[in-house]
Symmetry: C2
Subunit: 116 residues, 2 copies
Amino acid sequence: MSVSLSPSQALHLWHSATLRLVQSDAPDLTLRQLSILLHIYLVPPPHTVRGLATTLGVTKPVITRALDSMGTMGLVRRSRDERDRRNVIIQRTVDGALYLEKLGDIIIDEGRELSL
Amino acid sequence: MSVSLSPSQALHLWHSATLRLVQSDAPDLTLRQLSILLHIYLVPPPHTVRGLATTLGVTKPVITRALDSMGTMGLVRRSRDERDRRNVIIQRTVDGALYLEKLGDIIIDEGRELSL
DNA sequence: CGATAATGATACGGTAGCGAAACAATCGTT
DNA sequence: AACGATTGTTTCGCTACCGTATCATTATCG
C-alpha cells in the first residue's frame, strides 16, 4: 500500500474530489471549517478552542464561529470541561463521523480511478 | 506508482494538506474557488463561464464572482472569444500555475510522510 | 430587418465570514 | 477576599459570498 503520488496525480486527485464535493449537496464548508472538522476527528482528543486556534494559526473567534456553524449542522458538539470550567471541550457527533466517512469515500473513489 | 489509499489514509492526507493550506499565507480560497481553479488548469481549454457553471452544478454568478476574485489575485485571466463575442474565455496565468504548483507540493509532501 | 435565444455581468436583499477589541466567566495565587 | 491571568464568547464595522432576477451584448433564425 503505497501513497507516492506524482505532482500531477496529486492535483488531479484534489480536482476530482473537490469537484464531487462541490457538486454534492453536502453542507458547504469553508476550507478552514473542513480543516477544523478533520482535525477534531483525526487527532486524539481533547480539543479546545484555544488549541485549535494555535494549531491552525487563526484567531479564537474563527474557531468559535466555525463551531457555531458546524454545530448548527450537527457536525460537532460543545461541552464544558468540568475540571476547568473555562475550557470548552469539542466533541464528535454521529453526523460528523458520517460526513467525514462520505468524504473519505469520495477521495478513495476518485483515487481509484486515477491509478494508471 | 500506486494510488490506492485506505479511507483513513485519504482523510489523513486531506487533514495534513488542508492544515498546511490554512496555515500558509496563500490566498484564502473557497472550496468552490479552488475547484474552479483546479478545473481551469487541469482540464483542456477552452473554458467558459457557462461551461464551468454546468460542470460544477452552480449558477453563473458564482462563476463570475469567483473569476472576479481570482482575477484580482492574478490567478486567472479573462478574454473575449473573438469568434463568438458572447463568450468569455478563461485563461491561465503564471501566478495561477505557481499557486497550484505549491498546492501540489504540499499534497505530495504530506502524502510522502503518510507512507506506512 | 426584426424577433428570439444565448452568454456573461450586474443589482438586490440577505447571510456569513473576517480581524480587532472588549467582555464575562473561571481559575490561581496571594 | 482580591487581583491578575486565562479561556471562550460577543460586538463592531467591514468585506465577500449566496440565489434570484434583471440587464446588455451578441448571435441566430425567420
